[in-house]
């Protein structure tokens, strides 16, 4: 199976955009939080879970997704949202708590909703799993061939929600894909201390013959592309759900401000050596005849879009105070 040049180009640009977005967010988040760190102060307050290093998980599957496909994302959602095509300006404004945000400032970074591209989020670990299954059920009922993807961390694979959702998805033979982003840690607890199996794709066999498991090692966007392609095609054809576990890297803490005392010394440096973005860039030049200026122009385009989104968010006003009282009911 070959990947088209257009797809490779999209994957690189989107990974780059996601990374640049998170780098900007990392900087922005510290504004107003020095010298004393106070989570509630600064340009962007509240918890902040960045996806730096985990881009291949989102890009490798999203390249196969359409606008009408459904994505349910967890507390670390930016790479998923960017890859799904969530409105970047309104997403950024939402994270800044501004009136121009996706939810007029009532959701924040863990609660991004863009129904135009069927994207939702939850800050509760494992909670998106049954909702994506229900969205897949709706697609099936409406005789559409759209698929639903639930992203979770490896920690969420140990929730009851995982078991209930996969059992239902198999029973109802839903177009449903669970992407397990194994970044080795549930906050501080390593996977070895939380998970009874070597990898969660192995759990597919517990849910019936129509559920298939895939394992993607080394945070590899190309391998993620291939596993996802098969899973998405199976789902669209009504052949059943899939679990894809990707071994990915969390370069930063669980959240910004995490002291990371649980990390072995040198671990982050070692992971950074394997940064998927420069590796992918090299691969594109070496094996796929991409030229330097071509890649630079993709990078500039991505940066421009992100810069524009941050500028939009900064310039936007905070919501009117009465906004807090609206939208409890439709």
């Amino acid at each position: 199976m070959t990947i088209s040049r257009k797809e490779l180009s999209w994957m690189y640009e989107t990974m780059y955009k996601s990374r640049y977005y998170e780098d900007e967010m990392e900087k922005t988040y510290t504004e107003g939080k020095t010298p004393v760190f106070n989570i509630g102060s600064g340009t962007v307050p509240g918890e902040m879970h960045l996806s730096t290093g985990q881009e291949p998980a989102a890009i490798g599957i999203s390249v196969h997704l359409r606008k009408d496909d459904i994505v349910a994302s967890p507390h670390r959602p930016h790479h998923h949202a960017i890859a799904k095509g969530v409105d970047l300006k309104r997403m950024t404004a939402e994270i800044f708590g501004k009136k121009t945000g996706l939810s007029k400032g009532k959701g924040g970074h863990m609660h991004l909703f863009d129904p135009a591209v069927h994207f939702s989020c939850s800050g509760i670990v494992g909670a998106g799993l049954p909702q994506a299954a229900g969205a897949a059920l709706a697609a099936k009922k409406k005789n559409k061939d759209s698929v639903a993807v639930a992203y979770i961390g490896e920690g969420a694979a140990n929730t009851g929600s995982f078991h209930e959702s996969l059992n239902l998805a198999s029973l109802w033979n839903l177009p449903y894909i669970v992407v397990v982003e194994n970044n080795s840690y549930g906050i501080s607890v390593p996977k070895s201390a939380s998970t009874s199996v070597a990898s969660n794709d192995l759990r597919a066999s517990a849910y019936g013959d129509n559920v298939k498991g895939y394992y993607v090692k080394d945070n590899d966007p190309i391998a993620m592309y291939h596993a996802s392609k098969e899973a998405v095609e199976r789902a669209r054809k009504g052949e059943g759900p899939s679990i894809i576990e990707i071994e990915t890297y969390r370069f930063l803490g669980h959240f910004q401000g995490d002291a990371e005392g649980y990390r072995p010394e040198g671990e982050v440096e070692e992971l950074r050596e394997k940064d998927p973005i420069p590796l992918f860039r090299d691969l594109l030049m070496k094996d796929h005849s991409f030229k330097e200026d071509e890649l630079v122009s993709l990078e500039e385009k991505a940066k421009g879009e992100v810069d524009e989104a941050y500028a939009f968010a900064r310039e936007s006003d905070y919501p009117d105070l009465e906004e807090a009282l609206d939208n409890v009911f439709i």
Binding site: I70, A72, G101, L102, S103, K104, G105, K106, G107, H111, F113, D114, P115, H118, S120, S122, I124, A127, L129, P130, Q131, A132, A133, G134, A135, A136, L137, A138, A139, K141, K142, A148, G160, S161, E164, S165, N167, L168, L171, D326, N327, V328, F329, I330
Partner: protein
Amino acid sequence: METEKKRSLTGNKAMSEAIRSEMERDENVFVLGEDIGEYGGIFGSTEGLIKQFGPERIMDTPISETGFIGAAIGAASEGMRPIAELMFVDFFGVTMDQIYNHMAKIPYMSGGNVKLPMVLMTAVGGGYNDAAQHSQTLYATFAHLPGMKVVAPTTPYDLKGMMISAIRDDNPVVFMFHKTLQGLGWMDQLDTSIGQVPEETYSVPLGKAKVIKEGTDVTIVGLQMTTHFGMHAVKELEENGINAELIDLRSIVPLDKETILRSVKKTGRLLIVDEDYKSFGISAEIAAIVAEEGLYDLEAPIKRLAIPDVPIPYSRPLEQYILPNAEKIVQAATELANE
């Protein structure tokens, strides 16, 4: 002379008729839950529906409340109008994250951009010795949390009309039906659990209380079984020369405070009767509203009859001791009228 043909239904048949008529009208409506297919719902809410609609639209689920209530949320966000049944409200504990952190909050957290037109129907109430884990109403537990309409109809007429409104509502509605008011053959046969229900489709608005009996001496506010007990109590009070007004709340969120305040203005005396825990509940909320907005209409302190703050005991005399009943209402209303 042509006599109008009156038709009586039990509570459960009124509910299933409502669901049937909405499913015929709108193909996006479907039901999912435990034992709702061939069994017809443990408390009869989906009786006979699988025959007409089949297992694609009347979906028996595994015992996976998080799974199927979460699935209902996801399906609703994609334009379906699911009705999920939580068999006993007491089982909320295993799925409250989906109900409260998601069903109730997604419309708000999305700034109103994601609608969840779904019904969570659930059986409530005790009085038949099912003990602490299968007898609660938990009215106030749900009503306390913003983002859900919470309704608790009493009569078969309202069960049908309010279920139709709940299905058509674009907000998540928690539809609580009282087991004893379903008129099931294997439970108490109560006069209130059977009533006239028109065959045609009609709706009863959510958020409106109903004055069951007008009166001048004391206002009695109830819902579901406490309305039922109230109906018997007001007759006895009348025989004793006390003209009580009885209000059936029907809806908890939104709460029809105008009807309550209007009644209190007239009677000056208020008795709230609730089959839920006393502290921090419906009776406290109504008392607070009347204290805030109708204090000068009161001629006597407000009285409350509710479950003392204990889990529901099993043994028949113990359970009867803690539940409200007609006799307790007569006694409390008489005391209040004589103050």
